[in-house]
């Protein structure tokens, strides 16, 4: 299953940087080496097995932009599933950005009316902490208004303050692209109940984006997923430096235990248990036994034949 994702925005707004961090395992510092994108860079990202994101990273210099709206219009805007438009929060030419954005929407409306639209207000780290929300809200309201009749979803993002913003926006985008996500979520919730877990998360293997989660006991930190993604990604990078593959980890103290384990061929699972009397081995056995069931869901998603043996759940 191929899904075309358009990544657009003004030159220098950070499209390629974001893409490299999320899908090519760059760390933020590495993106300084990136040059300007010429025309369109296509990349295929295998996500969750057979879901292929066909990313069109469209260079944002004016000459290219004009091109997209004229000669390449059909080619670029046809069969688009998702449009991600990146705005530089510090841009001085807001009117012009909006103009391009609206031309873009117009073309989308003509060629792929069913596409979902996301706006990322990028480089939020450049704005003082106390003003971020106000500025974002103002931009969001304006974008919503200007996007009509299409609906858009806005996120604040930054590659530097990545623990705060980066992953959540992309997790949300990717979440929408996964077929069968509700079945995945209900299975996950079931799994959490059986385990007596506080929380269970499912991460995509390559990007470590959260694709589904189930919370049994609310937690105060709403940014915890992004923080964990980031920590594990860093850890995976250090693992690969030693030519070892990240397999699993267990963190335990007197009030909780956290397990991150290899799950299906495309996912990692994370289980949080707050009952210290439950031994690790019991949880690990449960994780191992749940694998089959989740592998089956994954195969259903990808349309591959499913073996007839019943899952052990």
């Amino acid at each position: 299953m191929k899904k075309k994702v358009l990544l657009m925005g003004k030159s220098g707004s950070g499209k390629t940087s974001m893409r490299s961090i999320i899908f090519a395992n760059y760390i933020a510092r590495d993106t300084r080496r990136l040059g300007a994108t010429i025309d369109v860079e296509h990349s295929h990202v295998r996500f969750l097995g057979n879901l292929v994101l066909n990313l069109w990273d469209c260079g944002g210099q004016e000459i290219f932009m004009e091109n997209y709206f004229t000669t390449q219009r059909d080619n670029v805007f046809r069969n688009v599933e998702v449009l991600i438009y990146v705005f530089d929060v510090e841009s001085r030419e807001v009117e012009k950005d909006m103009h391009y954005y609206q031309s873009c929407l117009e073309a989308i409306l003509q060629n792929s009316p069913g596409a979902k639209v996301f706006c990322l207000i990028h480089k939020m780290d450049l704005i003082p902490e106390d003003q971020r929300k106000m500025i974002f809200d103002k931009r969001e309201a304006e974008l919503m208004k200007r996007s009509l009749p299409l609906e858009c979803t806005c996120f604040k993002t930054s590659i530097w303050d990545e623990t705060l913003y980066k992953a959540s926006a992309w997790s949300n985008i990717v979440h929408l692209l996964i077929p069968n996500v509700h079945q995945l979520e209900s299975s996950l919730s079931n799994f959490a109940t059986i385990l007596d877990a506080d929380e269970v998360l499912l991460f995509e293997r390559a990007t470590f984006l959260v694709i589904a989660h189930s919370v049994k006991r609310p937690h105060t930190d709403i940014h915890r997923f992004e923080k964990i993604s980031n920590i594990v990604k860093q850890f995976k990078l250090s693992c690969s430096k030693l030519q070892a593959q990240f397999q699993s980890m267990e963190v335990r103290n007197s009030c909780f235990a956290a397990f991150i384990d290899f799950f299906t061929p495309n996912t990692y699972v994370m289980v949080i248990m707050s009952d210290p009397t439950i031994p690790s081995a019991a949880t690990l056995v449960n994780i191992r036994n749940a694998r089959k069931h989740f592998e089956k869901i994954e195969r259903l998603e990808s349309g591959l034949p499913v073996p007839t043996t019943a899952p052990r759940i």
Binding site: D196, A281, A282, V285, N286, R312
Partner: protein, 125 residues
């Protein structure tokens, strides 16, 4: 799937009349579930029990030829211990010294029979 709290409740039922602690562990010595007063030494107990089992199982193999090791019952200074295989796990029970060996064996047998079928299902293929 294994419901850890339910399993603990089942094990807890054995802890009457001088039975102090009931543990379920895998052959590597990691604790799967436990019930009773273990003075926070349940992990160590599990490791020691698995170790005793493993070393005896090896010699049992050559001694009994066709049959593997079924039981280990130990009569110690401060109490009695029984270890028995259930599915691919080990059940370990220890009691006060006042408990008779017959009673110990009967109870372990009953518990093992009850757990055998459900635990077989969660065992790795």
């Amino acid at each position: 799937m294994l419901k850890p709290k339910e399993l603990t409740k089942v094990l807890e039922q054995a802890n009457t009349g001088g039975f102090q602690c009931t543990l379920l562990l895998n052959p590597e010595g990691s604790l799967m579930a436990f019930a009773g007063k273990c003075d926070k030494k349940e992990n160590i107990t599990a490791a020691v029990a698995a170790n005793i089992w493993m070393s005896n199982a090896k010699s049992a193999k050559s001694a009994f030829q066709d049959e593997g090791l079924q039981y280990i019952v130990m009569d110690c200074e401060d109490g009695k211990v029984a270890i028995r295989r259930v599915a691919n796990l080990l059940l370990c029970v220890y009691t006060a010294e006042s408990v008779g060996l017959g009673m110990l064996r009967a109870k372990v047998e009953a518990l093992a029979r009850y757990l055998e079928e459900p635990l077989k299902q969660i065992a790795s293929p």
